[in-house]
């Protein structure tokens, strides 16, 4: 297989400022609600390459999608998580596609080419399904373009035996069962009692633990929020609520000026330390 020099490869990353493409993207962003998730958007972008899906440039598609996400973020569009997951995956795929082949040898995982092929297959399959759906909606339909004979009241005059049959559809029956189930759930409903760390408990715990920390002059020790969580074997729900309650209690202390909170970037550990004011508060 031909291996391209790296500088050529990375020139692909330079965003192209094409007025027509930008206008296209605007249309896509405005109509975002009309699309059925990230795969549908990808298919729309793929169609714009105006080539047979089998000859699609996956790298170009990835770049278009990432560009689309970037613009959506710029416009502060509220994108569903699906779209961001897809973006993360495509960014990963892109890096794999751009790496020299030797560098990406990993055992029992798909090669970049196979991953791209899988994506391409999904797009082709979705395209086929969407075409089928469109064809279906344009077919002549019973009761719209094609008609059946309707039973004639006069038929009875023919002096024939009338046989009564009872009818119900599967949907009717399932819906009836669904209703019964719901009635029951409503009837037997009890408010569940949860074992949670209350705000009061959290405030008490936070003050006690921060007060007990080694203190060296004005430079208090930074400690992480995680280290303040209860270590005992508690339920997962209790640990979750502890995290939330301790954090909220922490915010309350910050508001009072008794605490400093610090976090470098999202999802990093949260650090806290007591201020001088905290000392006065705990003394008094």
């Amino acid at each position: 297989m031909k291996q391209l020099p790296p500088d050529t490869v990375f020139s692909e990353d330079v965003p192209q400022h094409d007025a027509a493409a930008a206008a296209d993207m605007d249309v896509l962003l405005i109509n975002i609600d009309g699309y059925e998730g990230p795969l549908d958007i990808l298919l729309e972008l793929a169609r714009r390459q105006k080539v047979d899906l089998a000859k699609l440039s996956i790298l170009q598609l990835v770049r278009q999608y990432l560009n689309f996400i970037a613009q959506a973020k710029e416009l502060r569009l509220d994108l569903a998580a699906d779209y961001l997951v897809m973006a993360a995956w495509l960014a990963y795929l892109k890096s794999r596609l751009l790496l020299p082949k030797q560098a990406q040898e990993e055992e029992d995982s798909l090669t970049a080419g196979q991953m791209a092929a899988a994506l391409q297959f999904q797009l082709q399959r979705l395209e086929a399904v969407q075409t089928a759906a469109r064809d279906m909606s344009t077919r002549p339909q019973l009761g719209q373009q094609i008609f059946a004979r309707r039973a004639d009241a006069d038929d009875h005059a023919a002096g024939m035996v009338t046989q009564v049959t009872h009818t119900a559809t599967l949907y009717d029956m399932l819906a009836a069962y669904g209703d019964i189930q719901q009635r029951q759930q409503v009837q037997t409903y009890e408010l569940p009692v949860f074992h949670l760390m209350s705000m009061d408990d959290a405030m008490q715990r936070l003050c006690a633990m921060l007060g007990a920390l080694p203190q060296s002059g004005k430079q208090q020790v930074w400690t992480t929020l995680n280290s303040l969580l209860p270590q005992e074997e508690e339920s997962a729900l209790y640990r979750c609520s502890s995290m939330a309650s301790l954090f909220t209690a922490g915010l309350e202390l910050v508001k009072q000026g008794s605490l400093d909170l610090r976090q470098a970037v999202a999802f990093d550990p949260i650090y806290m330390r007591a201020t001088a004011q905290f000392q006065e508060r705990s003394v008094s």
């Binding site: 795969l39 309707r150 024939m160 009872h166 599967l170 399932l174 719901q182 997962a236 979750c240």
Partner: protein, 220 residues
């Protein structure tokens, strides 16, 4: 008078015949020449078309006849013996019968007392009678309980009517919920089960969304 865009010669006898044939076929009552003319293009001549159509159908199993000043198709009277089985009157079953049937199909064998517990209301005799008459339920074994109450089960005709090949194909509650058949979710289901909270974070996503990333696993 309506006008249509098709390019066919609307006055051609053949076209008028086809249109009349379809209009008469679909009409639930005999349809008058005037009614048909109103739906045809201006200048279409109907009577010759109808008479020609009547000739086409003469001696066939279905004939074109005039009744009450209108035109309609009627089966030839000599064929009545073949048609007796088809004189069918469809009757939609009542809500109560529907619920009862649903419970029997999901909980069979089930006694009348159990039925009433599940439905939360008394079951009138007429309800079970309707289902029996429809041939969808039948008595099953007696329950080994005081009074040896009769149980009810569904019949093969029930499966037949609902085009199911086995009882196994009745969707379960989770599947009904997924299909939108349980609309209002009980509040208790909305709150995640304690163990779910971290389980989903850990990655073994419970719902099978499978975005393109069926390849996603490779990211790890």
């Amino acid at each position: 008078m309506t006008s249509h865009t098709a390019s066919a010669d609307f006055k051609a006898l053949d076209h008028v015949k086809r249109a009349c044939e379809a209009m008469i076929f679909v009409a639930p009552q005999p349809i008058s020449l005037a009614d048909m003319a109103e739906r045809m293009e201006d200048g279409a001549v109907l009577l010759p078309a109808l008479l020609s159509l009547q000739q086409d159908y003469a001696g066939r199993g279905v004939e074109l006849v005039q009744r009450d000043g209108g035109w309609c198709f009627r089966t030839a009277s000599d064929l009545a013996p073949y048609l007796t089985h088809h004189r069918v009157e469809e009757r939609k079953i009542s809500r109560a019968a529907l619920e009862t049937l649903a419970i029997i199909s999901y909980h069979q064998p089930v006694t009348r007392a159990e039925l009433e517990t599940i439905r939360g209301v008394m079951t009138s005799k007429g309800t079970l009678d309707t289902l029996l008459e429809a041939g969808w339920i039948k008595p099953g074994r007696r329950r080994e309980l005081p009074g040896r109450p009769l149980t009810w089960v569904t019949t093969p005709a029930f499966l037949d009517h609902f085009a199911l090949s086995s009882l196994n194909e009745l969707p379960g509650l989770a599947e009904m919920k997924a299909a939108g058949l349980l609309d209002r979710r009980a509040a208790r289901d909305v709150i995640p089960h304690e163990n779910d909270l971290f389980a989903t974070q850990a990655g073994n996503a419970t719902n099978n969304i499978d975005l393109t990333p069926d390849v996603m696993e490779n990211v790890a």
